[in-house]
């Protein structure tokens, strides 16, 4: 029984930690990095805008920086970019009806298998 408590504590610990958000940094550069890492460089092979040195990536970096300085937030900039380049530019697809399955599938699967496992366990 002791062992179960041990596990419970570890899991609680883990969920508390993961629910906490990453350190917020007000610097624009940091925000630009954070966002451009999630953008696809459309002229490269599977490289993010942040990592790329291509002209396209440089333009986008500047655009993102300008938009942040204009006071737009991350969501608005993403919206602006997807209007121009399509959703293809986002490495992290939107959470919307079209991508619902993509986002929920792993977690539904996880919940189901936990349920299944517990049921099997009780049978024993």
């Amino acid at each position: 029984m002791k062992f179960q408590y041990f596990f419970k504590y570890i899991f609680c610990f883990y969920f508390i930690l993961s629910s906490e958000s990453v350190l917020s940094n007000d610097k624009v550069d940091f925000k630009v990095k954070e966002l451009t890492l999630e953008l696809r460089c459309m002229t490269c092979q599977n490289q993010s805008v942040y990592d790329s040195d291509s002209d396209f990536a440089k333009d986008i970096k500047n655009v993102v920086k300008d938009k942040f300085q204009e006071g737009l937030n991350q969501k608005e900039i993403k919206h602006f970019l997807t209007e121009r380049y399509g959703e293809y530019i986002l490495f992290k697809p939107y959470f919307n009806t079209k991508n619902l399955f993509l986002w929920l599938f792993p977690f539904i699967l996880l919940v189901f298998s936990i349920g299944f496992f517990i049921k099997k366990l009780k049978n024993n």
């Binding site: 596990f7 999630e38 599977n46 959703e87 792993p106 024993n124």
Partner: protein
């Protein structure tokens, strides 16, 4: 001439393999003769592949494939590796390996004759299917219709030592699962109660998994120093594809430990075996058909894609069909407890399968969406990081104690020792994070990795006396493997979370300060190599006026293909890598990126330990 030999021996080996499939009712072949034919077919297909290699070495441009992918001025090693640096040649290598695995099986197996013949028949069937694929869509022995003296050259990015051996190693992994597949299907046809197939499956799945690990590691090491992006894993579709059979192979290797005579686990093993090879083929299809954009998208052709899709449906469909119609003989329940070894292994398997399905979904989702709604979306690193990692985390946690769990009860010997050490470790890690920059993922990764290492070490110390012998190493093998994973987790966490990046514009003779180090741009070199021009910038890295090392990032220009490749300059230290890439130039001022990647070496050390324990496990009875 040499191509002719290659092609005819390929055809001959197909004919021999076809002869093996004649049913017993028509022509009775005895086992000795059967094995002889099989081995002869293997030798023939090897001759076929070697003649392609020879054509590359001799720069025989009358062969169309050599003409398209080689050049007479290439260094010798890249002439050889050029043979598999293209679609046709690599599929021939794949074919060759299917046969070689069968050959090795026929030599090493102690199985009953009937079973042996069944396995080799299935292996031959796979061989024939892939051989037809080569002959009809990807023949490497086509004759060049024009007379030429020079070839078009190999893609410069492939001219690299790690990448020369990356494909064969990776293929030894992928194709090894073909034998595991054959073993699984053949076991379904077993009339007698014969458990030998489990030992065979264990051996060959570990062999394949170890090669696959080495192949993936080589690929990502190459990506680290050659692409110059500062990272080593990019969730590129092709990386994902290699990860899927790897994960399922890992689940397979683990469930093979569970065998205690339960029918249900045997069924599960058969299922995983079929799945592993199916995923290998699916991966080949996705890469070679060109429907995914990736750094690997060399050679894409719709007709090839369709053919591989056909192979995929054929083998997978056939495999799972037999799996479904052959019902289990008897059913006994598993001994599940919270938490014993069996349930830990089952949770491990469940999590692996979920991770694999998530990767699969993320990889093919853009295709599904494009077909259904005609919009293009990308699913990249951020998606996988936020779905696959949380799924795997409890698995890692479980892994740290799994090897010490018992089969029958839910008690752990010396449980208190573990708890005490865990508390001490948590405290230390917490203190460390408190004193340095706190980062959630950094904290989780560090505590997981070090806990896995610590608990495995405790188990080794508690349960065994230190006698260095092979048997001893075998008995602690699973702990060693898990220590490797722990080291790798720490490496991955630190190198991704605490990576520092600096950008400078700098000209010759200038120096910049990075923390307590001084980096001086000494000189620019331009040299002529055999088949490229090399531009190198010499950087001198010092700390408190003491020289640490010279670092030479640069670029190579390959005149044949008119391509420039970046060559990152890396100074490896046990604790951190200094990683410099040379950017563009403007008025003799160069833009450079300097990355300080902490603990990258841990990743390679961890992988090395995992491969080591894979090799040990092969010899484990």
């Amino acid at each position: 001439m040499i191509s002719l030999i290659g092609f005819s021996s390929l055809c001959l080996s197909i004919i021999f393999s076809l002869a093996l499939l004649i049913p017993n009712s028509i022509l009775k072949i005895n086992i000795k003769f059967f094995l002889l034919i099989f081995r002869f077919s293997t030798i023939l297909v090897c001759i076929s592949f070697l003649s392609l290699v020879l054509a590359y070495i001799n720069s025989d441009f009358s062969n169309f494939n050599v003409f398209q992918n080689s050049h007479s001025e290439k260094p010798f090693i890249y002439k050889i590796s050029g043979a598999w640096g293209n679609h046709e040649g690599s599929i021939l290598l794949w074919l060759c390996m299917i046969s070689i695995y069968g050959f090795l099986f026929s030599l090493s197996s102690n199985s009953l004759d009937d079973f042996k013949i069944n396995v080799l028949k299935i292996q031959s069937t796979l061989f024939i299917i892939f051989a037809f694929f080569i002959i009809f869509t990807s023949n490497p022995f086509l004759v060049n219709s024009i007379l030429v003296n020079e070839g078009l050259g190999l893609n410069p990015i492939l001219q690299d030592p790690a990448l020369a051996i990356h494909p064969p190693t990776l293929y030894l992994g992928y194709v090894g699962f073909s034998l595991v597949f054959s073993l699984a299907i053949a076991s379904l046809f077993n009339k007698k109660e014969d458990k030998n197939w489990i030992y065979e499956t264990k051996k060959w799945s570990i062999v394949s998994w170890t090669f696959l690990t080495a192949g993936i590691a080589l690929g990502s090491y190459w990506a680290y120093y050659e692409l110059g992006w500062g990272g080593w894993w990019f969730w590129d579709p092709v990386e994902n594809i290699s990860l899927m059979p790897w994960i399922v192979g890992l689940a397979l290797v683990h469930s093979l430990i569970m065998i205690r005579g339960e029918q249900i686990i045997e069924r599960w093993i058969v299922f995983l075996s079929i799945l592993c090879f199916s995923l290998s083929i699916l991966g080949t299809f996705l890469v070679r058909s060109g429907i995914l954009t990736s750094v690997h998208s060399f050679a894409s052709d719709a007709s090839r894609g369709l053919f591989i899709l056909l192979i995929f449906f054929l083998t997978t469909g056939f495999g799972f069909l037999i799996f479904l119609i052959k019902p289990p003989k008897n059913n006994n329940n598993l001994n599940l407890l919270l938490i014993n070894k069996t349930s830990a292994l089952i949770i491990n398997n469940i999590l692996m399968i979920i991770a694999m399905l998530t990767i699969l979904l993320g990889t093919i989702y853009p295709i599904i969406i494009e077909v259904m709604t005609n919009t293009r979306i990308s699913v990249g690193g951020p998606y996988f990081n936020s779905t696959v990692l949380p799924v795997l985390l409890p698995g890692f946690l479980l892994m740290s104690i799994a090897p010490v769990l018992s089969w029958q009860s839910n008690k752990i010997k010396k449980f208190k020792v573990y708890v005490v050490f865990f508390l001490i470790l948590s405290f230390v890690v917490f203190l460390h994070s408190y004193l340095t920059v706190f980062n959630t993922w950094g904290f989780i990764g560090l505590i997981l990795g070090s806990w896995i290492i610590l608990s495995s070490t405790i188990s080794i110390v508690l349960r065994y006396k230190f006698v260095i012998s092979f048997n001893y190493i075998k008995s602690i093998n699973s702990f060693i493997a898990h220590i490797g994973v722990g080291i790798m987790i720490i490496g991955i966490t630190f190198s991704s979370v605490y990576q520092k990046e600096y950008n400078f514009n700098i000209s010759e003779g200038e120096e910049v300060k990075i923390n307590e180090n001084i980096l001086k741009f000494e000189k620019l070199y331009l040299t002529e190599e055999k088949n490229y021009q090399s531009l190198r910038a010499l950087f001198r890295l010092t700390k408190e006026d003491k020289l640490i090392n010279y670092i030479m990032p640069g670029k190579n220009y390959y005149p044949v293909s008119k391509m420039i490749t970046t060559e990152a300059g890396i100074y490896h230290d046990w604790l951190k890598d200094f990683y410099i890439t040379l950017g563009s130039e403007d008025n003799n001022i160069w833009s450079i990126s300097v990355y300080i990647n902490p603990l990258v070496s841990f990743i390679w050390i961890g992988v090395f330990i995992m491969i080591f324990s894979g090799v040990i496990a092969i010899f484990k009875k």
